[in-house]
Symmetry: C2
Subunit: 428 residues, 2 copies
């Protein structure tokens, strides 16, 4: 017995409502990373954390230990400040795509290390891979070069960042221990802190299509992450934003790229534009460039220029046509009236089932599959008007996608009450 | 996906306070046994059960599924009824040794499938193995033959009984999920029901030397096990018995065999005799032979005859001298007065450290190591009188055994209040 602590004793301490000291927390993560603590011990421990939580000191130590399990990037030699954004995931949430070039065009470099999607929310890399030729994998040096020359980069996070989190997340996924606020917060923040960004803006989604269905839970998660970031010396703010209905009019990889390009061209749905600008303002302000207004930069086309340079630098052709689905079908309005509800989760599951998302990490995704919307909640609709268009290369998927949408659309005779604001709350 | 249920969904159901249906419970145990549910999933699930519990129907199904995971013995062709006893484990608890031959001598066969010790409580097989030549492993046919000809058998439980429990117990041991009343109850009862006994008496220990320190917990465990037994058609009763101080005057393998032989010879400590008789009466009554009084049978020497036959049938020589420890040391009373307290846990740990027990399954035990007591709580003592004698073949162990005993002995100037009764409560 050369280990300084006993894994079973530490599990029991948490299980029985006790707290771990700093050396115990640091050892736990290190011992799990090197295999001294077995997977089955960590899963029992994670379940105990689900029930008992982690206090601020434990959580800070846990997050630091996850960061210390791997490498840490350093952007301090760039000629510009850096800022990044993280979204907890929503349906139709393509904001990263117009946001990164917009903030870069405003003079703040954005190192966005991103992931692939699992379940009903898409992954940013899956979306960009709909662009012919675009590649997600960059070396650290390529990323640094692109940040300096172009100002923005969206690429795959290397396996060297917070490997303890990678291992723990895979375990939590199969053991029913994902839904723990301290574990979610430390997972997100360890990766973002290790990534080396100079400032961080969190977009914490709340509503049916989000991981957090309740405002109170979303607020707790946001507050916890903001505290973790600041505790690590990283200026961090969070916006709680509505995810009761999809963002914009598209959910699906290529479809969302096309909508993002519309936004960069000065058009696009109002909610996507508004959230892109709100998050850009927060990032600029957190990076010390609150004096720059992103709205005229978007209108000027300079963000589009950065987008084209970003796509090109990673092998993509910004002028190439995006793939189109072989088949489409329409869900039409069943009555005249007002679209009172269009449920985000249902639309997300429909897009997923059409082929836009994956059920397992190994699954491929279809670049052209997904959903486009003919109306947004609050819009007037006519009987027979297409409300939802389903896109897929594999038409046998239509039936199950339609099933997901049962009850998702509500049309009322009277105008519905006003929608909640898109940005519900700011924390920071 | 051919599995009828999803392991992660079932973990979440329990985690969030829901309950499993009968088919879900049966699948869980079967899928864990065949490896469909991974160890790390079962450990998270066990931790969720620790926090959320199992209701009566879930627990009944869980226990049945553990029984169904292996073979089930059948004693219905014996010429006598059968009864068995299970103790939750205590310090100096050698009751099985005189009890089995006594009940057999009263006309009820006793198929005692037993285990080895781990930690501060000894295992019945470890004790019997102090007898030169005695062997624990019997085939099922040898066991049935011995039950018919001798009437009693104490042997190792084959690996075919409740293999799911064996697998789950090993997992719980390393994941901090041992201390869950439904999991403890189903572990004990699945083995005892699979063993095929016709009646069962549970000796649920309560106090410092027992697994259950609090009366309320011991009562809950006993009530749960009695209900499980009866639900499975097995007449079951439980006695809650005191384990705040060791049973008898010995703790250690050969030392406890010697004390058991004293009891079978008509002598022995009053508490060991009293508990042996109380449990014998319960076993006889549960097996439908409540008309037989075990006290005169013990006095007659017929129980001793059965003991000698049992030991001989398993290769042991009942007349062989038991091993004696190479070294002994004494802990003496530090003042005149009354022995008010002699802590069971401390004595158990001391015996364990002297070599009577094991810390890991692979460790050997010493046949002669252990502790003998010179006085029991309530006795008058004189300064310098030997209170505890430590026995070991490896004298370097004395120091750590003495450490365990610090604070374990309390001598008072005035007579202490009366002890709690040995049998605290009967449940059934």
């Amino acid at each position: 017995m050369t280990a300084p602590f006993d894994a079973v004793e530490l599990i029991r301490t948490k299980r029985d409502g006790g707290r771990w000291g700093p050396a115990e927390v640091a050892w736990l993560i290190q011992a799990y990373t090197d295999g001294t603590i077995a997977e089955e011990q960590m899963s029992a421990l994670a379940m105990a954390v689900f029930f008992r939580g982690l206090d601020a000191e434990e959580l800070g130590g846990w997050t630091r230990a996850m960061i210390d399990s791997g490498e840490r990037l350093d952007f301090s030699r760039l000629s510009r400040p850096t800022a990044d954004k993280h979204s907890t995931g929503g349906v139709g949430d393509k904001i990263t795509l117009p946001l990164v070039p917009l903030v870069a065009a405003c003079g703040v470099a954005v190192p966005q290390l991103s992931g692939r999607g699992l379940g009903h929310t898409g992954g940013t890399l899956d979306k960009l891979e709909a662009i012919p030729g675009w590649r997600a994998a960059l070396s650290t040096q390529e990323m640094l070069d692109q940040l300096e020359t172009v100002g923005g980069v969206i690429c795959a996070a290397g396996s060297g960042l917070a490997p303890a989190d990678k291992k723990l997340y895979a375990l939590r996924d199969v053991t029913g221990t994902v839904e723990s606020i301290p574990l979610i917060a430390s997972s997100i923040m360890s990766k973002k802190i290790a990534e080396g960004t100079g400032a961080l803006v969190l977009d914490v989604k709340v509503g049916s299509g989000a991981f957090m269905k309740q405002l109170a839970d979303a607020r707790t998660l946001a507050t916890t992450m903001v505290a973790l970031g600041r505790g690590a010396g990283l200026p961090t703010v969070a916006l709680l934003t509505d995810m009761s209905t999809p963002l914009g009019l598209t959910a699906g990889n290529g479809l969302e790229v096309a909508e993002s390009v519309e936004v960069l061209s000065g058009g696009g749905p109002a909610d996507v534009v508004a959230l892109t600008l709100a998050l850009a303002r927060e990032m600029l302000s957190a990076a010390g460039r609150g004096d720059v207004d992103p709205e005229p930069v978007l209108a000027s086309g300079r963000a589009m220029d950065v987008w084209r340079a970003m796509v090109g630098a990673q092998g993509g052709n910004p002028d190439a046509a995006l793939p189109q689905a072989r088949e489409t079908e329409v869900v039409a309005a069943e009555a005249d009236g007002w679209l009172a509800e269009l449920d985000a989760m249902a639309v997300g599951v429909a897009a997923w089932r059409l082929g836009a998302g994956r059920a397992r990490k190994e699954d491929p995704v279809q670049a052209a599959a997904g959903v486009t919307l003919g109306a947004k909640p609050g819009d007037r609709v006519r009987k027979g008007q297409p409300l939802i268009r389903l896109h897929t290369d594999t038409p046998e998927r239509f039936a199950r996608a339609r099933e997901a949408l049962v009850g998702a659309v509500r049309v009322t005779a009277d105008p519905p009450p006003e929608r909640p604001p898109l940005v519900i709350e700011r924390i920071g």
